[in-house]
């Protein structure tokens, strides 16, 4: 049965590996301003991510399943954050992963970082992209599918350029279907 995420009061961020604390705090601060839910950073550890055979990438579905298996309070949702590249056996990579109606999501910062593309690192840009990707995955937890409006945050982005182009806001249609705690317009 799908979890009820309509009454969420807290968003828990779980750094899974080497996410630098200042960056985690910046992301949490942005999320707090953006959502009407408290954002808390959990202590990392406890999960043993599996790598995809023959690939230098974590198995996103296995990691998501491990996150979903963690105890999560009824009024909270959990987002695991990894600095490593994640993928599925059938896909070359994914930015994030969430099942519609579940309580846990996963986001990778690896390909959101300009350094991945041999560009100078930009912590502010990385924090903005990561915040957007987290809110996108939260939209899936709230049972939204991908939107066809290319400028809506719920549209599918298969490249970092599209992550930037789609922006940070939900279209009116998606926004109307979100629970109140996710509906706040971005104030970046």
């Amino acid at each position: 049965m799908a979890a009820d995420v309509s009454r969420v009061r807290e968003l828990h961020l779980l750094p899974l590996d080497g996410l630098e604390p200042p960056l985690a705090e910046e992301i949490a601060a942005r999320l707090s301003r953006r959502l009407s839910a408290a954002c808390r950073i959990l202590r990392s550890g406890g999960l043993q991510p599996t790598r995809l055979p023959g690939r230098d990438q974590l198995d996103a579905d296995a990691l998501l399943a491990a996150l979903e298996a963690l105890p999560i309070a009824d009024d909270a949702v959990l987002v695991g954050l990894t600095t490593l590249d994640i993928a599925l056996p059938i896909f070359t990579f994914v930015f994030g992963r969430a099942r519609q109606g579940a309580r846990a999501a996963l986001v990778s910062l690896a390909r959101l970082d300009a350094g991945f593309y041999s560009l100078p690192s930009d912590p502010d840009l990385l924090a903005r992209r990561t915040t957007d990707e987290i809110v996108h995955e939260l939209g899936h937890l709230a049972s939204l599918a991908h939107c066809q409006n290319a400028s809506c945050l719920m549209s599918f982005a298969g490249s970092v350029e599209k992550v930037d182009v789609r922006g940070s806001a939900f279209c009116d249609g998606c926004r109307d279907r979100l629970p109140a705690w996710l509906r706040i317009q971005p104030r970046l």
Partner: protein, 459 residues
Amino acid sequence: MSASRAEAVRPALRLLVVDDETIVRDSLGAWFRQEGHQVATAESAKEALRLCAERGFDIALVDIRMPGLDGLELQARLAAADPELTIVLMTAYASVDTAVRAMKAGAYDYIVKPFDPDDLSLLVKRAAEHRSLRAENVRLRKSIDSVAAPPPLLGGSLAMKKVAEMVETVATSDATVLVLGESGTGKELVARAIHAGSPRRYNPLVVVNCAALPEGTLESELFGHEAGAFTGARARHKGKFETAEGGTVFLDEIGELSPKMQVDLLRVLEEKVVTRVGGNTPLPVDFRVVAATNRELRAMVESGSFREDLYWRLNVFAIEIPPLRERLDDIPVLAEHFLARFAHAMGRKPLQLSPATVEVLRSYPWPGNVRELQNAIERAVVVGSGPLVEPNDLPLHITKAPPGAGPGSLAEAEKGHVRAVLDAQGWNITRAARILDIDRVTLYHKIRKYELQKPADGG
């Protein structure tokens, strides 16, 4: 844009994922559902065929390597079961050989595992557009079939039934056809019927009247020209053979071609390439030729005015349309057809031919054949006032046809009629040809044939 409106723009696709690996089916299934599509999965070819038989799909993503029936074989079976299905093959091994085999098997595209998410998204979007365009194409072709169908070849006479049978027989082949018949018998109509019944019907039918243009202009019209080929040739111009790509070229009045044009045309027919005037590059062209003439081509060959090799190249399949005077039973049928058409076009109530009118129509030799009959009926609809078309609604020269101008005295009747029209028009060839419903070249031909001479002025 709201989600519901977005769905109206691009409806959810019905997708079938066929792969023996659970992880692939589950991952793609979840991914496509998140995209808003309806997804079914099958772990074997057998299950895929069963699902396809039970319900329709828009797009099938099929793994190329599976135990039992592999993806290529399954692709063929799925395509046979549902020709509308767009099939994308999935492979773990990218190779030219794989791509070639997939495309040869009729797949829309193939994609290599693991997929770049953007590539897969784009591929599905393109496949959906392709499917939509193909469906639209089918709809348009059906529209063409219903809207652009040529008028039927009317006439219940044995001769016209035979013509209709020949048209039906030859249309589906790609053979060159030579249509013979007097002016106004409907040679172009036969050419249109051949084109409409052929596999080339969705491509153009290009009509060229070989008698209408001087040699230089006709050469440029038929073969095209390059910019600067001659004075006034400012831009490149495609010729009729190029314009007809994939379709049919109807060469009317082929007997009027000059000796040079006969040579040029023969080369095009034999080699299926054209070289534009002023150009050097031979361009391959794909067309079918239907040619027509009211001249005695065989006699022209014997007299040396028409090339024998071109004659045989054109005369692969000959259809001879009998003149109207040789199929009297068709006259009332055709007259009633034209009567209904013109009455409708002019907003008149349905009209009928009086028995006396039918008799007059049957007695007249119709040197202008069906075209002349059509014009006579049009005139009758214009001038007539009652529900019945009477003889006095017809043109005067028809009702005043000399007695005995029946089938036995055709030549004299035609000769007398042509001379009467020429005299009435002061031997103005253009006006006389228009009244006789024949072209000027044909009129000159008849003047020579009947040795008609313009009366001396002031006589």
